[in-house]
Amino acid sequence: MQRIIDHPVLGPLPEVKMVRIIVDGESLMAREGEMIAAALIATGKKYFRKTVKTHEPRGIYCGIGRCTDCVMTVNGIPNVRTCVTPVEEGMVIETQMGYGVWKQEQ
């Protein structure tokens, strides 16, 4: 757990509703309204994707939706910027390899 519970300036973290998200098949809890990237960092996840050519791990970089370093596959959609996308109940989040793949619609 890497969440700041008591911030020296912002004070203690208020209670909010928790939602369940599924990250690479594992069921985890996140604070409603927080961004996917924040929820994943709080759980200690080390990287969000691996790069296309050299397969290096990448995580959050700019944190404001510009650099696209933190993209993951969310609910089957590749290249979702996790730093600006809020978590939702039941969201399926996957570590993305390269550009990911489109989910085949049946």
């Binding site: 296309v52 290249n79 979702v80 390269g98 550009y99 489109w102 085949q104 619609e105």
Partner: protein
Amino acid sequence: MAGSYDVIVIGGGIIGLSCGYYLTKQGKRVAVIEAGGFADGASGACDDMILFQSKKPGINLELAFESLELYKSLVGELDDSLGFANYGGMVLIQNQQELEVMEEFVTQQQSYGLDVKILDRKEMLRKQPFLSDRFIASTYSPMDSQAYPFAVMHKLSGKGRKLGMQVIHKSPVTGIEKDGNGDYRVSTGQNLTYTAPVVVNATGAWAGKVAALAGAYVPMEPRRGQIIITEKVPAVGETNLWTAKYLVSKLKSGFEIDSTEEEKRLGLGFAFTRTEGDSYLIGSTRESVGYDKRTTMEGIRAIINQAVSIVPVLKDVNFIRAIAGLRPATPDGKMILGEHAGMKGFYTAAGHEGDGISLAPITGKLLADMVCGTTDARLGELSPNRFAKDAKEVS
């Protein structure tokens, strides 16, 4: 006086550079004079297709085959991949009427040696699983290819320069006249004058204006084509895509296709190609708006709506850029390539509309052969003199 050459090529787009390169290879001293900078015109704002399936059997298709072979040899000659790829292409068919026209067209193309066939819905979906339900069949040709225009131009220019070709930028041509020796004097906006016995007008949509400076007639209309570029995304299916709708309306005059007013005004057609950089180029409009090459919200929105309706997964993809270029259109849809009657040494190589990338190498090679004295009987139908009658009516 800025210099004298064997040949002055006006226009430094993909056609001008190809002409310059092949002329230089044949030992000519060549200057390529460009009004703007590198890839400033349509060659820098287009898609990347070497497309066979859109071409009517005849000279365009024949030359496209030869151009493909030249591209393959240029990859070695210019020592670069040139973004050359061969994903193949499919033309999507949405109803029985379109299917009948396309079946007939495919049969004609096959008789011309094009490897192309009709796929039924199941075969189509195997290659393109993310299509909208409304398509009943498609064509497929493994020959449709592509090349990255910027790489092609960069390398033609680079290799050409190594062989002695000069490429002069920021030099709009303001006058073309004959001097006492029968050479052409080409003056530019910088008050410089270049002379050569041969001038090649390779100025695309501006070819009519440049020809007029020399007193020659070239009927050329700019058609604005807008294209959007997506972020890098995983591949959507195996091939590049087009729809039959636009092709069918071109093939069968009077064929009523169901288009909205906006689609007609924009000349909207669907073209979807994967780039070397793993993004997609999605087009395109075909608009008559003079020399205005701005992108428009209307055009971009129409391209996006059309693309999402054909490939629904694109609704979750961002587009990162839009471009527009002026495609040079001739009255009969064929390029203009040849020497003007009564104007020894004045050639035009322009008017490829949407085929500039496909046909650039063969255009340059044929032009260079012509200038060096080899004539190809097939090229009569591309001669600028086919419009001589119209020229008289204009004057």
